[in-house]
Symmetry: C2
Subunit: 233 residues, 2 copies
């Protein structure tokens, strides 16, 4: 058996992203320190983000709007306009930030592109994700880039249908059990979990059965795992 398509998540699978959010959150906390006790700031931000997902979805723009809303709420509206502008400027820096590839991403993707069709399936803002693929230098290795608003089993099924990929010949690779691994396993596909050092609370799951998916320490181990899976069947 040979996989017809190997799909990669992008953020924190191919390149660092969560670190950028953590860094910006530290600047957000420093900015609000003049107004309030920031001990509960991150919990408040997370609560606002969760409420706003339904309106604004995933990605930098929704995160930025949630930071602004949290700043206004927690300061009872006292946050100065110039500080809100600083938040907007942080958002602009985020969408222009250098794309820092994970250490093993470049050689793993380059090697697998010699033998397999590859694609990216990622959440987030469309323009931002497309620009990161371009800046990553890896774009030419991927046949398709799919930016989706949710990573549910139904969303994966729609992508597989659109590209006429049989689910039993599809392998998904990503750092999030919730978004990259479990929905694909639920469809009957195979998935590889590559844990990242940081996981956004929203992506944490407690009850995944590790016998239902594969796990590697870093992408450098992926070509050998793919060869092993294809030889086994």
């Amino acid at each position: 058996m040979k996989f017809d398509m190997i799909a990669f998540d992008a953020d924190d699978t191919l390149w660092h992203t969560e670190q950028l959010y953590v860094d910006v959150q530290a600047q957000f906390r420093a900015l609000l320190d003049q107004y309030i006790d920031t001990a509960a700031l991150m919990d408040a931000l997370y609560a606002v983000e969760m409420r706003n997902l339904n309106y604004f979805g995933y990605g930098v723009k929704g995160f930025l709007l949630s930071m602004i809303e949290t700043a206004i709420r927690l300061t009872d509206g006292r946050v100065a306009g110039r500080d809100i502008q600083r938040l907007i400027d942080l958002g602009k820096q985020m969408v222009q930030a250098d794309v820092a590839l994970l250490e093993q991403a470049q050689p793993a993707v380059t090697a697998l592109a010699q033998t397999h069709a590859l694609m990216i399936i990622t959440k987030g803002d469309l323009q931002d994700q497309e620009a990161k693929v371009a800046r990553s230098g890896l774009g030419a290795h991927f046949r398709h880039v799919e930016v989706v608003s949710l990573k549910t089993p139904g969303a994966y099924a729609a992508v597989l249908k659109r590209h006429a990929i049989p689910v039993d010949r599809f392998l998904m690779v990503g750092n999030s059990l919730k978004s990259d691994v479990l929905p694909v396993v639920a469809l009957g596909g195979q998935a590889v979990h590559v844990p990242y050092a940081l996981t956004w609370a929203h992506e944490v799951v407690e009850d995944a059965d590790p016998s239902r998916y594969h796990q590697i320490d870093h992408l450098g181990q992926l070509p050998a795992l793919v060869a092993q899976l294809e030889a086994a069947e």
Copy 2:
């Protein structure tokens, strides 16, 4: 000759959108009236929007961030936090607004779906556009929904390639000469312009050659035009 695919723009082609932006801008002006002379407000907002396209792209979230930035700049930071929160709440109302179909959209799409493969090609925020397709009640008539970050000839070429549609059997229908008509004509495809009562300044073009595309007054005329184009060749 029969078209393999008839593609529709969505905003102001299938349903009203620009009116929603105009209404929200009127509320934006009323909100800032307590701070500044708002005579030049819309020009200032437009200038900020154009600068921010590169960071935030098209759609409600970028528009909302540009309103906030404009409010801060023009008031020299004096705009109150509660008023910025009101802007964010306007953005939330925009993404939840009822989808008001254009008068002839429903019968035209329903009729053409009997005889042709249909798709939507639209700019904007991914989640927002998908949600509007769902709320429109027309979703089942469209085989694909493509949300793109730009509507350039290259972007259309990529969509045609992805779906294996020959350009000479592709018809694009939309209200924007700049985004829906001219890039498709440049590729060698056919396009139908359906003018909408309002056109965002960014979408205005002055120098389109009307002999290179088709024009109708409303979507109710589209089935007859399609029949006529297919009979002619």
